[in-house]
Symmetry: C2
């Protein structure tokens, strides 16, 4: 197993509650769990540290960082901006003739997975949708940032009740607006989508 795969798995476990905030991540334990050498584990931990998911104190080891509600709200504020920008850029690109097939496929995948009970499947479909949007938007830097922020946004939402069916529908609609090349509406819909999540979180 490579360091990137391990980091990915840790993130998945965070999103599904397998690792708790504040939990210590001891290298030796992870070595056993993933049957990997310490080198690989350290690499993965440093990657997670760069993503801001894990804190790495010298000689003290790694632990999952805690996300306060204020953090969550501000992360969603940031997500609103970025998701809006990505959607607008992608729509503009498509209007200019960019290939939309990957986005189309991602929308299908999302709608199908939202019917299933497999949460991991849905999460992956979601990732693919955002990935397709980022890719179409055509800026590597923006994609990179979006990837990072999305993980934090997922953590910010963690614990919410079932946000699946309705949100899948809403996301699909955003995808369709992007495919239609309507950049202004795509941005507004994307921002509204994130905003509604943030406001729900604020009223808790």
């Amino acid at each position: 197993m490579t360091a990137a795969q391990i980091a990915r798995d840790v993130i998945d476990r965070l999103e599904s509650g397998g690792f708790a905030p504040g939990q210590r991540l001891v290298e030796a334990d992870l070595c056993l769990r993933y049957a990997a050498g310490r080198q690989i584990i350290r690499e993965a931990l440093q990657h997670l540290n760069a993503l801001g998911i894990v804190a790495l104190e010298p000689n003290r080891g790694a632990h999952v960082v805690h996300v306060s509600r204020e953090d969550a709200i501000m992360t969603l504020e940031l997500t609103e901006l970025l998701f809006g920008l990505v959607s607008r850029s992608a729509a503009r690109r498509i209007a200019a003739g960019a290939d939309a097939s990957r986005l189309d496929a991602a929308i299908d995948e999302l709608m199908q997975s939202s019917q299933s009970d497999d949460r991991a499947l849905y999460m992956r479909a979601r990732r693919h949708l955002f990935g397709a949007l980022s890719q179409i938007a055509g800026n590597a830097e923006l994609s990179r940032i979006m990837d990072q922020v999305r993980v934090h946004a997922m953590r910010a939402q963690f614990g919410f009740a079932d946000f699946r069916k309705g949100h899948a529908q809403e996301l699909a609609e955003i995808g369709h607006t992007v495919m239609a090349g309507d950049s202004a509406n795509a941005e507004e819909q994307a921002r509204k989508y994130v905003r509604s999540i943030r406001e729900a979180l604020q009223q808790l």
Copy 2:
């Protein structure tokens, strides 16, 4: 020397032209340059990879990624949004009573260093100013993202003629608006500042 310090130094060299885009970064060479073990060097390279500054191909080593003009322009688009958000948030926080002393000090440092001929000094002062703004804005996630994007924004501007004196003045004014707690104007000034750089770049 720690991995973080080495990564910092590599970034500085990029900003001052010491490392060229596309240049290979061979571990053994860096070991000699920084008198460090390979472990440390690899750590630094992975950190730079996470920042999107160097590409890391398996078994092929690391090289400095190339920044196309389109990339630079879209990075500055992103920077405009983020710098605006940071400035607005910081101003709001200060209006609500947050401590502004660090920002005040950073503005002084910037103005002083802009008189000097030491480019590295000016760059550090700039970093401190943005750091102070991020810190006052009060969201760790946003700070993290800003740190990353700022490095890319610097690279995007690289090669520009002397952008120091006028820009230092403009940055200081933004800082003062933030300290006055005027969030709307702070955001607009910050965005305008980045926008003017982007537009100058577009007309090349």
